[in-house]
């Protein structure tokens, strides 16, 4: 394509957006014009045909006139000859008498040829006395003409047809004359008999065809002789055809349409008639007419075809123009309002055809913003002028590559071009014919946000230190590095001693401040290659690259850290002092993987804590035994969920007042194939630690909800189901969505579900926990505080909890009958709950005495072995059924 073509295509004129116009549609006048032409064509054709027909009819009538003249002349002459013969015979009879007259005339060769004319003489009695040729009837007495001549003195000739012709006497026309003697007396009749066909002999097929007609009619429509083609007609009665009408009419005897003409021969009271068949005479005209109609039809079809094609063509053209205009408008709208900068760059080539420069041929408002130049200044701008460095920094080469190779070249680049604003740019270079379209977007903000998010994802907000995920990554990298260098990595777990006391005593803010200060101090001890991260709470992890066989620098560093932690920190006017316990594990000696190293460092840290805090311990095999067991158990727990080793049992809960079982608590059990039943106290903390608690907890929730619905569907009275939610689960951002999905999937009414959260869980992040609980409550779910009394709930916070009940921890219930302190706590909890309009439930009730105490002091609900152990669903169903049947409480 030419440059002009390219520039046309890429310079849409940036017209205003609007409704697509209707311009360019095929004009309506075209069909009208075609219609007019058709009218003219057919009008002319029909007129021409009409004229042709008139001419043909005129010709037929002219021909008819000639025929009639000829035929009339022939008939008249023949009749004259016959009359003459009759006169001659009459004369001969006067000279020779009736009997000898024929012979005398024959002698003189005065008779017409016997081949055609039969001449005879009848005497006064009707007997034939002479004849030529010699054969024929003997008497004519019965013939009408004999009576006529006998009765009439006239000597005028008389024409008649034979009556009752017989086989022997063929049909004849009789021309007769009365024979008189000298005195005028009747002596007989002179007769000339002629075959009627004789009068139609003048028929010429060359002129009259196969259906023409010659006829001799009597005075009144009696046909004396008629010939149509080769056929002879005689003695038929038909009206005499009207003469000179000039039109064809159907002939009565054969239905053929004929032009006919008639002329009277008055003396003998005869009529001659000629006819020409319309079909034959107008055959040529008909052929021409058909041809003319065909011509007109073909011309019409061609005209319609041409007009149709033209119309389609213009329509197609209009459509194409319209779609081009739409495309241009769309492009204009898209580029005008696009957040990307559009620059259309037109290649400039040298003589050899290589691209040496570009010229800006289009730019949108966003491009103006990005370049800081107006569109007017941008247009026609040479790239080499605008960006003098473009050749040096490779930008020109990149554009040229896109222009020559075509396609889309997309990249996100750090901006090195001072002419364009933005630190990070997303560029799309689209190679088109003759140039490049550059679509550039400033992605600096997104890049910054991404970087920030990445940092947030990898760092602890409080201290700004790497979090668990980044630390894991750094550790893995350090291990890989150590592998290559045959060096070592030291992993240390640092846990602040007594930090909880600070938190509880001075509040979270003080605790946070302390953490931040200590973290800062610890960070100052580090070398460049070291990483310190916060794992959450007061746990820090240190990754120190080390030399094999020379751990002294690392140990010195650990001791320095231990020392800086111990220095006092002033917060809110208090001089606070904490210590730390440090456990360390060494790669590769203590473990080959990051996980193993962390677990072992953790074990060492616990060991240090057990040894009296403010201590540094390295991992030893002895510490390992417990941890190996733990690691194995985590692996097995991972498989337990898939292998169906986990199940849920249900412990019934009763109302103290009525004794009615109103709900159950879902409890998790692990039936290990080798270890047997594993205590929840053993595996739940493991699950919590490893994060497995999230999928397991979700499974418990699903199972319990489905079971609750199943009881209900089985016909049992609806009960509530309580499910414990662990801290890890509660923190999971998908908790709300998961609960909603499970409720939807199982069909359990939200009011039938109660989630139990622990007091300590809430206290870790009071505001966040209360918000989340409020959202759960908004879904219609009941919430209760589990193990109440074990934590350090601030009583003022308790009233803001969106909960409906409190659960007295079983540790208070256990010695309720005997321990006065526990009795006081239980009584206080019950009183407190009732003050806050909460219900109270006591768990772990095993003895009647415990129950008596609780009932006495107004506890609302109870659960425990005294009433029902955690049971299989079927047992619960049976109990529900029994309760329904008895209609009375099962509790004592």
């Amino acid at each position: 394509m030419s440059r002009a073509g390219w520039s046309k295509r890429t310079q849409p004129g940036l017209g205003k957006l609007g409704m697509p116009g209707l311009g360019g549609a095929p004009p309506l006048s075209l069909p009208l014009f075609a219609l007019l032409l058709l009218v003219v064509i057919w009008g002319a054709t029909l007129h021409f045909i009409d004229q042709q027909r008139d001419a043909a009819v005129r010709a037929v009538n002219a021909s008819l006139g000639e025929l009639l003249d000829t035929y009339e002349a022939q008939v008249a002459r023949n009749l004259g000859a016959i009359e003459q013969t009759l006169k001659t015979v009459a004369y001969a009879v006067k000279l020779h008498g009736t009997e000898h007259a024929i012979g005398a005339l024959q002698q003189e060769d005065l008779l017409p040829s016997g081949l055609i004319f039969a001449v005879s003489i009848a005497d006064a009695s009707g007997r034939i006395v002479a004849r030529n040729p010699p054969t024929g009837a003997d008497t004519v007495r019965a013939q009408a003409y004999f009576a006529h001549h006998l009765g009439s003195p006239s000597e005028a000739p008389f024409v008649s047809e034979s009556i009752h012709p017989t086989e022997r006497e063929a049909w004849q026309l009789h021309f007769t004359r009365r024979l008189n003697d000298a005195d005028g007396g009747f002596v007989g009749v002179a007769i000339v008999d002629v075959d009627p066909a004789y009068f139609a002999t003048g028929y010429e097929r060359s002129r009259q065809g196969e259906l023409g007609m010659l006829a001799l009619f009597g005075e009144t429509g009696d046909v004396l002789a008629m010939r149509v083609g080769e056929r002879q007609f005689a003695a038929i009665a038909t009206p005499l055809p009207a003469s000179g009408s000039g039109h064809a009419a159907p002939s009565p005897w054969d239905g053929v349409w004929r032009f006919s003409a008639t002329r009277a021969l008055p003396r003998l009271r005869l009529n001659v008639v000629v006819g020409l068949a319309e079909r034959e005479q107008l055959a040529a005209f008909e052929t021409r007419r058909t041809a003319s109609l065909w011509e007109a039809a073909v011309i019409s079809a061609l005209l319609l075809g041409a007009v149709g094609l033209y119309w389609l063509w213009t329509r197609q053209g209009a459509k194409t123009r319209r779609s081009i205009r739409l495309a241009q408008q769309t492009y204009a709208a898209a580029s005008q309002n696009n957040q990307d900068a559009f620059l259309v760059l037109h290649s400039v080539r040298d003589e050899a055809g290589a691209i040496v420069d570009f010229q800006v041929s289009e730019a949108n408002p966003q491009a103006e913003k990005m370049t800081g130049m107006s569109r007017h200044d941008l247009l026609r701008q040479r790239l080499s002028v605008w960006m003098p460095n473009c050749a040096a920094n490779g930008f020109l080469r990149k554009l040229a590559h896109a222009a020559t190779s075509g396609g889309v070249h997309e990249a996100e680049i750090e901006n090195l071009l001072p002419e364009l604003h933005g630190a990070w740019l997303h560029e799309q270079l689209v190679g088109v014919e003759g140039g490049v379209v550059a679509i550039v977007r400033d992605v600096s903000a997104r890049k910054a946000a991404e970087a920030k998010m990445l940092h947030m994802a990898q760092h602890d907000t409080l201290t700004g230190m790497p979090n668990r995920s980044l630390l894991n990554f750094r550790l893995a990298r350090a291990i890989a590095h150590a592998d290559r260098r045959h060096s070592a990595v030291l992993v240390a777990f640092i846990d602040l001693d007594n930090f909880k006391m600070v938190n509880d005593g001075l509040g979270h803010n003080a605790g946070d401040e302390l953490l931040a200060a200590i973290a800062k101090r610890m960070g100052q001890c580090l070398r460049r290659q070291d990483t310190l991260g916060r794992f959450g709470g007061d746990e820090f992890v240190l990754v120190l690259p080390a030399h094999r066989g020379d751990l002294a620098p690392c140990i010195a560093l650990l001791e320095r850290i231990s020392a800086v932690v111990c220095s006092s920190v002033e917060i809110n006017g208090h001089a606070l002092q904490v210590s730390c316990s440090i456990g360390a594990a060494l790669y590769p000696r203590d473990g080959a993987s990051a996980d193993t190293l962390l677990v072992r460092a953790d074990a060492a840290m616990y060991s240090a804590k057990e040894a009296g805090k403010n201590n540094i311990r390295f991992y030893t095999q002895q510490m390992g035994a417990r941890d190996e067991n733990k690691l194995a158990l985590v692996e097995e727990l991972r498989g337990a969920l898939q292998d169906d080793q986990l199940r849920v049992v249900y412990q019934p809960k009763f109302e103290v007042g009525t004794g009615r079982m109103f709900g159950v608590e879902a409890l998790l059990r692990w039936q290990h194939p080798l270890r047997g039943m594993v205590s929840p106290l053993d595996f739940i903390p493991l699950a919590e630690e490893s994060g497995l608690i999230v999928p397991i907890g979700l499974w418990v929730l699903e199972t319990a909800c489905a079971q609750c619905v199943a009881w209900q569907d089985g016909g049992d009275a609806p009960i509530t189901v309580s499910v414990n939610v662990s801290a890890r689960q509660f923190d999971d951002p998908t908790l709300l969505a998961d609960v909603a999905r499970v409720l939807r999937a199982t069909g359990l009414a939200p009011a039938r579900l109660e989630l139990e959260v622990t007091e300590s869980l809430i206290m870790r992040d009071l505001k966040g926990a209360v918000d989340k609980m409020a959202q759960l409550k908004a879904m219609g779910i009941a919430l209760s505080i589990d193990d109440f009394g074990t934590g350090y709930s601030s009583l003022s916070a308790l009233k803001s909890f969106p909960i409906s009940s409190l659960k007295i921890d079983q540790s208070f219930v256990r010695e309720l009958a005997t321990n006065v302190d526990d009795q006081a706590i239980a009584k206080a909890i019950i009183a407190l709950a009732h003050q806050l309009q909460l219900r109270v439930i006591a768990e772990g009730v095993e003895l009647q005495s415990q129950f008596e105490f609780l009932r006495e002091h107004g506890c609302d609900e109870v659960q425990g072995y005294l009433f029902g152990r955690p049971s299989e669903p079927a047992v619960i169903a049976a109990a529900l059924a029994a309760q329904a049947w008895l209609g009375e409480p099962t509790a004592r």
């Binding site: 022939q74 040829s113 016997g114 081949l115 055609i116 040729p133 004789y198 002999t201 003048g202």
Partner: protein
């Protein structure tokens, strides 16, 4: 051939006799007066004269044809041989000729002898006769075979 003749002798003799007798009995001769200069005519020339298509002899002299009566076998034979017309065709021909006024059929003469006499006496006549009626008064211008 010899053996064939020997075996079929009676049949062969009979055939010869029949042939000779037939030829003599049915020969038809077209004649003009002996007084006219000697000539001979072809069949088509004779047909033209008898069908009124031509009224002159090849030598330029006017000539009038004479016919035997309608229905005579010799007449039928004559038209059949000379003009290839059956009696019906001949009649149709003359009907048209007469009606349209283009000609009249020849005058009819009662028999071959009367014909011969009339022709012999009038050099302007032409006629046809049975060969049996031939004599020196007329000359044969065409012999129409069987």
């Amino acid at each position: 051939m010899e053996t064939l003749a020997m075996t079929n002798k009676p049949l062969l003799l009979l055939s010869i006799a029949l042939l000779c007798g037939g030829a003599r009995a049915a020969d038809l001769l077209v004649i003009v007066s002996a007084k006219t200069p000697a000539m001979s005519l072809r069949a088509d020339q004779v047909a033209d004269i008898f069908l009124a298509q031509d009224a002159r002899l090849p030598n330029g002299a006017n000539v009038t044809p004479l016919d035997l009566p309608v229905g005579s076998p010799l007449r039928d034979q004559f038209y059949q041989k000379v003009a290839a017309k059956t009696p019906a065709l001949a009649r149709a021909y003359w009907t048209k000729m007469v009606f349209t006024g283009r000609g009249q059929p020849p005058r009819e003469i009662g028999n071959s002898v009367a014909m011969r006499k009339l022709v012999a006496a009038n050099p302007g006549y032409i006629g046809y006769i049975d060969s049996a009626a031939l004599d020196d008064s007329v000359q044969v211008v065409l012999t129409v075979g069987k």
